[in-house]
């Protein structure tokens, strides 16, 4: 516990030293909210209650998907090796980082939601809080996978590969436009991506329905995703240890 608290605190302090980076992480979804939102809400496709959950998933995928970039420098400067030689558990070394990433994401998500309310979001608070929980769990899995990728693929390839991977996953999730609009083939493809289930669950939670099959599916898929992501992440942190 000492190790986890120390690591998370350390990474949080480092993140908030650059407040600019924390704010900047939320800028892209804010643009979508302010510039795309008014169009979307008058398009007849859906309301702010459809858009805001989608933008939250987008934020989760984009920012957690790229967190691995930070570990590249830790690896280069010997920081990672130094941490790996301590008795701290490998899963703790990973979880300390991931926990920080999730907390930063949570702050950014709250900003988006507050702005959403100002623009016309009508979601109930309970649904929003449950939705934030789901989003946090999802981001843990995504961040763990991002670190695993950063430690596995060549340094200079990490950012292009991840951003190229995350965009189709985000579009296929229906985060921007719901998959109910999709032609049959696209709908089928999207069902093979994990984030579609999270997006739909988040929309239902925001709409005030907490125990529908859609929500249960979303929770189930997200739990499997986070379990898989964290297992892979820990494996990579353990790699080559005795």
């Amino acid at each position: 516990m000492t190790a986890l608290a120390a690591l998370t605190g350390y990474y949080l302090r480092a993140s908030f030293k650059s407040k600019f980076a924390v704010v900047f992480g939320a800028v892209q979804p804010v643009f979508y909210l302010v510039i795309f939102g008014p169009l979307f809400s008058r398009s007849g496709v859906g309301s702010w209650d459809t858009l805001v959950p989608g933008l939250l998933i987008q934020l989760g995928l984009m920012s957690s998907g790229l967190v691995g970039f930070g570990i590249v420098f830790d690896q280069r400067f010997g920081v990672l090796e130094r941490l790996r030689v301590t008795p701290a558990r490998r899963s703790t070394l990973l979880f300390g980082r991931v926990l920080k990433d999730s907390l930063v994401l949570l702050i950014q998500a709250v900003v988006i939601i507050a702005l959403g309310y100002a623009l016309g979001l009508h979601a109930r608070l309970t649904g929003v809080l449950l939705g934030l929980l789901l989003l946090t769990v999802l981001s843990v899995g995504m961040a763990a996978l991002s670190y695993a990728a950063a430690l596995t693929i060549r340094q200079e390839l990490f950012a292009p590969v991840m951003s190229t991977l995350v965009i189709p996953l985000m579009l296929l999730s229906g985060a921007l436009l719901p998959m109910s609009l999709a032609p049959a083939w696209l709908d089928v493809v999207s069902r093979f991506t994990p984030f579609r289930y999270a997006v739909e669950a988040l929309r239902e939670l925001f709409a005030g329905s907490y125990a529908s099959p859609t929500v249960l599916w979303g929770v189930l898929v997200t739990l499997v995703f986070v379990g898989g992501g964290f297992t892979i992440g820990t494996k990579v942190f353990q790699r080559e240890n005795t």
Binding site: A3, Y10, R13, V79, V85, T86, E240
Partner: protein, 247 residues
């Protein structure tokens, strides 16, 4: 303190370490000497639980390397060759984090860091960014990283590479003091033979993945009828240290 038999490590089909036996007693300063690419760092990373050996047995600081790596980690310090801190990180914060990963409370960690910095003539650098330190200071910060939990056994990988002669001699003094004051066992790699001669009680010469000679500097010189360790090295390996296989 270290008992190793038949330790090997292959990368793909290349056997980087080809069955080394190592015995180090408590309180010894042992130098692991060889050219770049001889297998020094690979061996060190195996002994510090960071790299899985292909075969062999090893007990390090009283714990089996394979059965109890966490037990080994608790009792050893390891200072890697490439440094331990990024240039934009504050030295004190990094040291406190490291101490807490060894289980110290926040207050104990701060206290330990202050004392350790003083012992290494680094008082006042805790608020500075690592990138602003001199080479010698930065190297001592790296060494501090490995000493926070008062290990019984300290591994130093090329501790003086890239340092000017004065910083190097200064660092030797610190290493000697660790042994004298804390009874620490030190296992270090170097490719400076004069360093091994001046600092180490005993030397293991490694070349192309095998230990080709071992003994005190005096024993090695006597056995090969040589005046310097450079001549010993040439005699046992057939080549000069500097022109060894590249990394």
């Amino acid at each position: 303190m270290i008992h190793v038999r038949g330790l090997t490590r292959s990368f793909d089909s290349v056997e980087a370490v080809q069955g080394v036996d190592i015995d180090v007693s408590k309180g010894e300063i042992v130098g692991f000497v060889g050219p770049n690419g001889a297998g020094k760092t690979t061996t060190l990373r195996m002994l510090t639980t960071l790299l899985r050996p292909t075969s062999g047995t090893a007990t390090v600081a009283g714990h089996d390397l394979f059965a109890d790596p966490a037990g080994v980690r608790r009792r050893i310090g390891y200072v890697a060759q490439g440094g331990t801190v990024g240039p934009f990180s504050e030295v004190g914060e990094e040291l406190v984090l490291q101490a807490r990963l060894y289980g110290l409370s926040r207050a104990d960690a701060r206290d330990r860091v202050t004392r350790l910095l003083a012992e290494l003539d680094l008082t006042g650098v805790d608020k500075r960014l690592a990138g602003s330190l001199s080479g010698g200071q930065k190297r001592r910060v790296d060494i501090a990283m490995g000493l926070l939990h008062r290990p019984e056994l300290l591994f130093l990988d090329e501790p003086t590479t890239g340092l000017d002669p004065q910083s190097r001699t200064n660092l030797w003094g610190h290493v000697r003091r660790l042994r004298e004051e804390a009874g620490m066992t030190v296992f270090l790699t170097t490719h400076y033979l004069e360093e091994a001669d001046a600092l180490c009680d005993r030397i293991l010469i490694i070349d192309q993945g095998r230990i080709v000679a071992s003994g005190t500097p005096a024993e090695l010189k006597a056995a090969h009828d040589a005046g310097t360790l450079d001549e010993v090295f040439l005699s046992v390996t057939g080549h000069e240290l500097r022109e060894g296989a590249a990394a």
